[in-house]
Structure formats: structure tokens, C-alpha cells
């Protein structure tokens, strides 16, 4: 089949997004680089929504371009999640950029859109080459974004650290891929999946090595312990909306990638890797939650909280061998919950830290007095992150937990619960600041800008709705006969 016969219409959402990102890039050049450009932010959100609309309605049946680019339920669902997450992040950024003059505005938006494009490629690709291109597009755009406050030492430091460590992780992934290519002569994930059972009998070590290399690389991207060291520094140094982007979009896209590679390519040797995932999940939950206890800086705290959350998301992978669709259902549900509560929390964090020019925990002091709406919304997000009832986070965590017990990984389930209880302590530390501390004398009442309050309201409403009526999502999952081709 020649490239011209392929069903390129499957790629419409990506192509449209790329075109609009280039358009924003061009407009930015043509209007001079130093101005404030809120209209570009609005245009970006529009581009994301158009793309999400196309994802939803263009390819009802799904399909594939020569087993390289796949559109199936799995990729559609993840793309929608990612696009909506980025739209929320951009709404947060618009306020941030309005407050900060030292950031080039147009580039910021177009880089974010390119990163999104990379993430979309990642979730759709079934070929190591496309997959790697998507990953690098996402990563390189993120490196730039992390260093966007170039006059600040911390931001530059974050970018340098991220680039070096991220580059190393990419090298690991490539190296692991090269082993498989050498063995099978193909880069197609599906083909590799087919040939591994036979090859594994002859070359168990090479295949295991390749799997471990990839696991290390992917582990870096999802900030799983012991590959998490970069996260706190990078999260702290990056501009807050970028931190939100990293903790939501990069992480979830990498999860989609892990699922695709491990469920398709390495499926036949799942007993080799489920235990690895269980170990990593346990380490991640334990270290993330324990180290978060000692954090005073809000963004570092959120970094460790994000590590811990990644640990919860890894648990279904550890029990996936029993019943793969269930694991995907669980991960998707928790991903949705994670996007809502994390993006919502970052919207509040970004606003509060900007207003008080401090990223310490006590910048939240007396928030309830200054803005009851934001304090209540933040409380719901934190309660959801902690996994308490009537929030999306609780239902998601309960599903993961039930899955772990049903999959007879009781020890992992116990670790999950105990570390969740530890997390109460730091999440409620925020709540203590907001309600039980007086605001500083010079802090006036806060007026929440429209864009931010829209993000917060949507995230808040959905967090509660999914907590009270989780059937909205779970019933949809029941109808999905198969996630992947």
C-alpha cells in the first residue's frame, strides 16, 4: 500500500491542530513578540475544542493507517481527556501570562499546542518510530516551556535538568526499542506483539532487557519512583501553568503509551512485568506520599502528590494480567478524575501564588476569608485527591482498590490504603491554612478572573458529579466491547 492510498482522514484532528498551531505561531511573529496577546490564548482554546470535536465525531468507526497510526476507542478517549486538560491548562496560563511580562506569549501557546499534538500522536501510534516522534515532540516542547521564565534562575535550572534527564530517558527508550527491532526486524508494535511469544523462548534476556530499558524511560515520563527525581525541581522551577501541564498532560500521555506498548507488544509475557509494576507502584505510592509530608513549597508538594497519584494509576497495570479491559476502564476513570482535580487545584494554586508572590504553603492562609468560592473549590479538589467520598477521586480510587483485591494483590491494596491515609495529612494541611489561619493583614479580598473561575467551576462540578453519579462514565465503559484493535 502506498502512502497515498492510506486513509489520511483518520488524522484530521491532528492535522487541524497542527495547522492552527502554526497559524498561531505565524500570527505571533507578525504582531511583534513583546506584546500581551490574550486573543492567541482564546484561539488556542478554540483550536483544542475544534480538535476535540473532530476526534469525537470524525471517526466513528475507527481505523488504522498501515498499523502505524491507530484510531480506536482507547486513543479517542485519551485524546479527548488530553485535549480538554490542555484547554484547562491554557485557560490557567492566560491569567498567568497576563500577570507576567517576561514571558513571550505567542510562543507559549504554540509550544503548548505542539506538545499536545505530540501527546495525541503518542496515544494513537502503534509503531515505535511514530511513537518516539510523538514522545519527542511532547518532550522537547515541554523542555522549552519549563524554561520559559528565562530571567529566573530556578526556571532555567528546571529546564536544564529536565532536558538532560529527559534526554537520557529518551535514550533508554530508544535503546530498548532497538533490541526489539534487531530481533524482529519490524518497528510495528502489533507485529512485535505477535512475534514475541516465539522469540521469548530463544532470547528471554534480550527481550527482558529491552522491556526494562523501556520501563525505565517511561517511568521517567510518568514520574514513577525510582525515576522521579527530576519532578520536584522541574515542577518548582517551571511557570505554574507549565507545572500543571507536566503533571496532567505529560503524565497521562505517557500512561497511554505504557498501556499501548505493554498491552500490545509485551502482552504475551505479562507475568514478567506485572510484578515489576506492582513493585514500582508500591515504591511510588510510599515515597511520593511520605516525602510530600515534609514539603513547604506548594509546587513541590504537588509534585510529590503527583508522584503518589502516578503510583495509584500504576496499580491497575500490576493486576492487569487477570482482566485487561477492566484495568483500562479503571485507568481511564481515574485519569478523568485526576485531570479534573489536578487541573482545578492548579487553577487555584496558580492564582493564589501569583497574588501573594509566594509559593509557600502559608500563601493559602485564610483563603476562605479572601475568596470563599476558591477555598471551597480547592477543598473539594483536595478531598478528591485524598480519595474521600462523594468525589470523582474516591470512586476512581475505590475501583483501583477493588481491582487490586480482586486480582489477589492484597499487599498492594493495603499499601495503597495506608499511603492514602498518610496523604490526608498534607492535603488537609492546605485545608488548615485556608480555614484555620488568618489571612495576612495586607491581603485584600480576591476577585477571580472569568477564565480561571470557568476552569474551577467546570472542574468542581464534574468532580462532584462523577463522585455522586459515576454511572455516567462507567456505563459508557460497559458498552465498550474492546478498547484496542
Amino acid at each position: 500500500m502506498s502512502a497515498f492510498d492510506a486513509n489520511w482522514s483518520l488524522m484530521t484532528p491532528e492535522i487541524v491542530l497542527a495547522a492552527l498551531a502554526l497559524l498561531i505561531f505565524t500570527i505571533d511573529f507578525m504582531t511583534g513578540i513583546r506584546e500581551k496577546k490574550p486573543y492567541l490564548g482564546r484561539l488556542s482554546i478554540l483550536a483544542l475544542l475544534v480538535s476535540a470535536f473532530l476526534v469525537l465525531f470524525m471517526n466513528g468507526e475507527g481505523g488504522a493507517i498501515a498499523d502505524i497510526f491507530i484510531v480506536d476507542t482507547f486513543s479517542t478517549v485519551f485524546k479527548i481527556i488530553l485535549l480538554l486538560a490542555v484547554a484547562m491548562v491554557i485557560a490557567i496560563s492566560m491569567h498567568y501570562l497576563d500577570k507576567n511580562d517576561d514571558v513571550y506569549q505567542g510562543e507559549f501557546y504554540s509550544l503548548m499546542l505542539f506538545a499536545t499534538l505530540g501527546a495525541m500522536l503518542m496515544v494513537s501510534s502503534a509503531d515505535f518510530v511514530t511513537l518516539f516522534i510523538g514522545l519527542e515532540l511532547l518532550s522537547i516542547s515541554s523542555y522549552c516551556l519549563a524554561g520559559f521564565k528565562k530571567h529566573q534562575r530556578k526556571s532555567t535550572e528546571a529546564a536544564i535538568k529536565y532536558i538532560i534527564l529527559g534526554g537520557t530517558a529518551s535514550a533508554f527508550i530508544l535503546y530498548g526499542m532497538s533490541f526489539l527491532y534487531g530481533l524482529t526486524g519490524t518497528t510495528s508494535v502489533v507485529e512485535i506483539g505477535k512475534s514475541i511469544p516465539a522469540l521469548y523462548a530463544d532470547y528471554p534476556y534480550i527481550i527482558t532487557m529491552s522491556m526494562l530499558f523501556m520501563l525505565a524511560g517511561f517511568g521517567f515520563k510518568i514520574s514513577a519512583v525510582p525515576f522521579h527525581m527530576w519532578a520536584p525541581d522541574v515542577y518548582e522551577g517551571s511557570p505554574t501553568p507549565v507545572t500543571a501541564f507536566l503533571s496532567v498532560v505529560s503524565k497521562l500521555a505517557a500512561f497511554a503509551l505504557v498501556i499501548r506498548v505493554f498491552f500490545v507488544a509485551f502482552w504475551s509475557i505479562s507475568e514478567e512485568w506485572t510484578f515489576l509494576f506492582a513493585t514500582i507502584a508500591a515504591l511510588t505510592m510510599i515515597s511520593g506520599n511520605f516525602i510530600a509530608l515534609t514539603q513547604k513549597n506548594v509546587k513541590r508538594l504537588m509534585a510529590y502528590s503527583g508522584i503518589a497519584q502516578a503510583g495509584y494509576l500504576l496499580v491497575p497495570l500490576a493486576v492487569s494480567a487477570n482482566y485487561a479491559p477492566m484495568a483500562v476502564n479503571t485507568i481511564v476513570f481515574y485519569s478523568v478524575a485526576y485531570v479534573l482535580m489536578t487541573a482545578g487545584a492548579f487553577a487555584v494554586i496558580s492564582y493564589v501564588t501569583e497574588e501573594s508572590h509566594s509559593e509557600e504553603m502559608n500563601s493559602f492562609a485564610g483563603l476562605y476569608r479572601r475568596s470563599p468560592f476558591m477555598a471551597i473549590a480547592m477543598t473539594v479538589f483536595l478531598v478528591s485527591l485524598a480519595g474521600l467520598p462523594f468525589t470523582a477521586g474516591f470512586v476512581g480510587k475505590a475501583q483501583i482498590f477493588i481491582g487490586a483485591v480482586t486480582g489477589e494483590l492484597l499487599w498492594l491494596a493495603v499499601i495503597m490504603i495506608l499511603t492514602s491515609i498518610i496523604s490526608f495529612y498534607y492535603y488537609f494541611g492546605f485545608i488548615k491554612q485556608m480555614y484555620m489561619r488568618e489571612p495576612k493583614a495586607n491581603d485584600a479580598n480576591l476577585k477571580v478572573p472569568a477564565g480561571l473561575s470557568a476552569v474551577i467551576t467546570i472542574a468542581l462540578a464534574l468532580t462532584i458529579i462523577l463522585g455522586v453519579l459515576p454511572g455516567i462514565l462507567t456505563n459508557f465503559f460497559m458498552e465498550v466491547s474492546h478498547w484496542m484493535f
Binding site: M326, N329, V383, L388, P389, F390, F394, V395, A398, Q399, F401, I402, V405, T406, L410, A413, V414, I417, L418, S420, I421, F424, Y425, F428, I431, K432, Y435, M436, L469, P470, G471, T474, N475, F477, M478
Partner: protein, 510 residues
């Protein structure tokens, strides 16, 4: 009868909370009257339920089952209903909460948030007592955690931060263990059913666990482990020694109304859960560990009483007396006799009224004297005779004076333990004797404390203190009146619980 009346009951406080949310925080009196009005409506509804409750049937009444969400192999249901065990506790909840809201009229700061938290708390507590699905039970159990954290943390005393976080982490740990155990129970139950049509329904799981055909999956070791884990989870809430250390902090730092709710209702959730789920699903294991339960019960009685004896702070003394009194619940349960179990349930209800009254009195007196240190008080009966009188009456009820509810429940529990079969607890009588000594200690610390506070020389600075305000009579008379009513006419309560108790015990025998 009104269909779905329990759901309506659950929704009333939430609706009230939402209504209050819309009212500007300056209108404090509107907020107060709305909150109290809401709780009175809930109280009336629960009285209606009490009246309509059929005392002659064993099954669950006012039951309602709606599928909530589906996870493929598992459906989570909204399943509620009540029987003779939950009925009195339901009424206790609305009653004590209503009176505690009257008691919190003295709260002047952040009134709006306080009443919203209290109403959410009320929904959570009611939910625990009506839920018949373990998942739902857990949701409501956890729902009580957040408002209580706020109430202690915002309106509490000097060490409120510490107390709030200790409460959060301890009860969070209890909930965590409970959740693990619930899911494990579900899992083993589901395994026995080959994962067909499984749910978290307590009724369904009780049947599965009772079926001897499932013994290859539900082995004795599995059942024993599950029961012990459940016991620990509920023991933290009840609280049982050595899991009690959160209680003194929380009770002492909490504002009066919250102490009333904590001691009056929240502790009962532990005892209720133990009977409803522990004995309800694993009756054989409860009997197997009866000796352990009895030992812990006796330890609670003696240890709580000894610590109460050495307290210098009146509120702490009352807090430790709660620990001591919860021991009687354990003792009653452990006997596995009709009167013992009745005594345990009686004690849950009776202690609900008495401890709430005690905490209310301590709060009212503290408001006037500005001290809770026993040695600084004295002769209060001269300056504030009515308050001092009610406190004395509450102490008498707590000691177990005949004619008051405390006497009935202790008597029943002791009849139970003395009549316990030797197969279930060896040397039951010895437990009874030792626990009886603990009751003497109760009399000692309470009477001694009363003697030092209400009698004796009146300190100059306490003369001329204002006595009870009209609104304070409502909780005082309400709580004491019910204690008196149950004490004089216990049938009003045993009438409702009797048939359920017999039903529970029949499962242990069979």
C-alpha cells in the same frame, strides 16, 4: 406509609445545608433558626418512622434498593433500610443533633460554616445507620470525617489543630482498615458465588457467609481474619483500648455541640458497625472471639475509669468516662445472650443521651466559670443551682442510678455476662465481677468530681454567675427526660429492639 421516607430523611439536612449556603453570613439568626428548623424537621420525620415501625417483624423495614453504578462484574447499590437495631440509633441521632444545635447557640464566630458542617455531619450519621450496602456504609462513615475535622479545627479549644489532625488520622486509619476489610469480604463472598451478580449488600453477604457449602472458600482462617480486621476498624471509632488515644483530645478540644455529637452519636457508629456487620455477617466468628471482646470490654471499663479518676479537667473526665462506658457495650455483646445484647444496644442509646447531657453541662458551666479545672470550682450549687443540679442528675444517670437509663443498660449487660454460656466465654462470671468493680470506680470518680464542683465552699469569683438561660433548658430537659423515660419504662425501647436481638442470636446458635 410514605415511600422512600428514609431517603427523604437523608436529604433533609443536605437540603438545609444548601439553603443556608445561599444566605449571607451576616444574617446569623436566620441561619441559626434555619439549621435548627431543619434538624427539627428531621427529628419529626424520624419520630414518624419510629411510630410507623412494625415491632412484630424481624426483617428490614422501609427498605429501598436502587442500582447506583455498575463495574461490570459488580453492581454498587443504593440499598437502605432499618431494623430494630438501627431504629433507636436513628432517633438518637436526630434527637441529639437537634439539641446540640440548640446548645451551639453560644457559637458566635463563623456561624454559617458551623451549621453547614453540622447538617452535613447529620446526613453522614443518618446514612451510616440506614445503609445496608457496605460501600454506602463506608461512604457515609467517611462523610462524617470532614465536617468533624472542620468543627474541631475551627471552633475548638487551644490545641485544636493537634486534636483535629489526630482525629483525622486515627479515624482515617480506622476507615482505611474498614475499607480494606469490606472489599476483602466482598471478594471472598464473590469468589464463593463465582463472581455472579455480586454486590456489597450486607444481607446478601450474610447469606453467602452463612451457607455451609461455601466453606472451601470461606475457610475458618479467612473468616477469623476478616472479623478481627473489622473489629479493629470499629474499635478505633468506639473506641476500644488501645485505640482510644484520639478520643480525649478530640472531645476536650471540640466545642460543646461537637462533643455532644462525638460522644452521643459518632462513637455509636463503631458499636453499631460491630453488631450490624461484624455479628451480622460473621456471627460464628464473633462468638469465637467472644472472650477477646469481653477482655477488651473489661479493660475499657477499668482503664477508662482509672484514668477518669485522676483527671483534673472536668471535660477530660467525662471523655474518659465515655471510654469506660463503651466497655459495657463490648461486655454485653460478648455475652451473646439476649439480655446482654439488649444491654449493649440500650447502652449505646442511653450513653448517647447521658454523655451528651454531661458534655452540655460541662460546656454550659465552662462558659460561666471560664475554667474546667475541677479543683478551681466548688460550691456551684449555691451560685448556679439549676445547672449544678442537672449536672448532678447527669452524673447520677451515668453512674447508673436506678430509674435512669444507665441503670437499665448496665443491669441488662451484667445479667447477660453472668448468664453467658461457658462454651462461648469461659469464666464469664469472673469478667462480670471485675467489670462490676469498674462500675464502683465509676461511682467513685463521678461522685468525687461532683462533690468537688457542686458542693463545698463557693469561690467568691463564682458568686453571682447567671444561671440557666431559657434556651438551655431545651437540651437539659430533653436529654434528661429521655434518660428518665427509658429508666422508668424500658419497654419503650426493648419493644423495638427485642425481635432483632433474638434474630441476631438465632444465627449464632444455628
Amino acid at each position: 406509609m410514605i415511600p422512600n421516607i428514609l431517603t427523604i430523611l437523608l436529604m433533609i439536612p443536605l437540603a438545609g445545608a444548601v439553603l443556608i449556603l445561599t444566605i449571607p453570613k451576616e444574617n446569623k439568626n436566620v441561619i441559626r433558626s434555619l439549621a435548627i428548623g431543619t434538624s427539627i424537621v428531621a427529628l419529626i420525620v424520624s419520630i414518624v418512622v419510629w411510630g410507623a415501625f412494625d415491632r412484630s417483624i424481624t426483617g428490614l423495614q422501609f427498605a429501598q434498593l436502587v442500582p447506583w453504578f455498575d463495574l461490570g462484574y459488580l453492581t454498587i447499590n443504593y440499598e437502605i433500610g432499618i431494623d430494630g437495631l438501627s431504629m433507636p440509633l436513628l432517633l438518637l441521632t436526630t434527637f441529639v443533633t437537634t439539641l446540640s444545635l440548640f446548645a451551639s447557640l453560644s457559637i458566635k464566630e463563623r456561624v454559617k460554616e458551623f451549621y453547614i458542617s453540622s447538617l452535613v455531619l447529620l446526613t453522614g450519621m443518618l446514612g451510616v445507620f440506614v445503609a445496608l450496602d457496605m460501600f454506602l456504609f463506608f461512604l457515609f462513615f467517611e462523610l462524617t470525617l470532614i465536617p468533624m475535622f472542620f468543627i474541631i479545627g475551627i471552633w475548638g479549644g487551644k490545641a485544636k489543630d493537634y486534636a483535629a489532625f489526630k482525629f483525622l488520622v486515627y479515624t482515617g486509619l480506622g476507615s482505611g482498615i474498614m475499607f480494606i476489610t469490606f472489599i476483602a469480604m466482598y471478594y471472598f463472598g464473590a469468589k464463593a458465588m463465582y463472581f455472579q451478580d455480586t454486590s456489597f449488600s450486607i444481607v446478601q453477604l450474610a447469606e453467602v457467609f452463612a451457607n455451609p457449602a461455601n466453606e472451601n472458600v470461606l475457610t475458618s482462617a479467612v473468616r477469623g481474619g476478616l472479623f478481627l480486621a473489622l473489629f479493629v476498624a470499629f474499635a478505633i471509632k468506639l473506641p476500644v483500648f488501645p485505640f482510644h488515644t484520639w478520643l480525649p483530645n478530640a472531645h476536650v478540644e471540640a466545642p460543646t455541640a461537637a462533643s455532644m455529637i462525638l460522644a452521643g452519636i459518632l462513637l455509636k457508629m463503631g458499636g453499631y458497625g460491630l453488631i450490624r456487620i461484624g455479628i451480622g455477617i460473621l456471627p460464628d466468628q464473633a462468638a469465637r472471639f467472644a472472650t477477646l471482646i469481653a477482655v477488651l470490654g473489661v479493660v475499657n471499663i477499668i482503664y477508662g475509669a482509672l484514668l477518669a479518676l485522676v483527671q483534673t479537667d472536668l471535660k477530660r473526665l467525662v471523655a474518659f468516662s465515655s471510654i469506660s462506658h463503651m466497655g459495657i457495650v463490648l461486655l454485653g455483646i460478648a455475652s451473646f445472650t439476649e439480655s446482654g445484647l439488649q444491654g449493649a444496644i440500650f447502652q449505646l442509646v442511653s450513653h448517647g443521651f447521658i454523655s451528651a447531657l454531661l458534655f452540655f453541662m460541662v460546656g454550659a458551666i465552662y462558659e460561666r466559670t471560664k475554667t474546667r479545672t475541677i479543683s478551681e470550682m466548688g460550691g456551684l450549687s449555691k451560685s448556679i443551682p439549676i445547672l449544678a443540679g442537672f449536672m448532678l442528675a447527669a452524673a447520677m444517670a451515668s453512674v447508673g442510678l436506678p430509674g435512669l437509663s444507665g441503670f437499665v443498660s448496665e443491669l441488662l449487660a451484667f445479667i447477660g455476662i453472668f448468664g453467658a454460656s461457658a462454651e462461648i466465654i469461659p469464666a464469664a462470671k469472673a469478667f462480670g465481677v471485675i467489670a462490676g468493680l469498674g462500675i464502683i470506680l465509676t461511682a467513685a470518680y463521678l461522685l468525687w468530681a461532683m462533690q468537688r464542683t457542686t458542693f463545698g465552699q463557693l469561690d467568691e469569683k463564682f458568686s453571682g454567675l447567671p444561671d440557666a438561660r431559657p434556651l438551655e433548658y431545651i437540651p437539659m430537659i430533653g436529654l434528661f427526660g429521655l434518660s428518665l423515660l427509658i429508666g422508668i419504662y424500658p419497654n419503650i425501647l426493648s419493644d423495638v429492639i427485642n425481635i432483632t436481638v433474638i434474630d441476631i442470636l438465632s444465627k449464632i446458635g444455628g
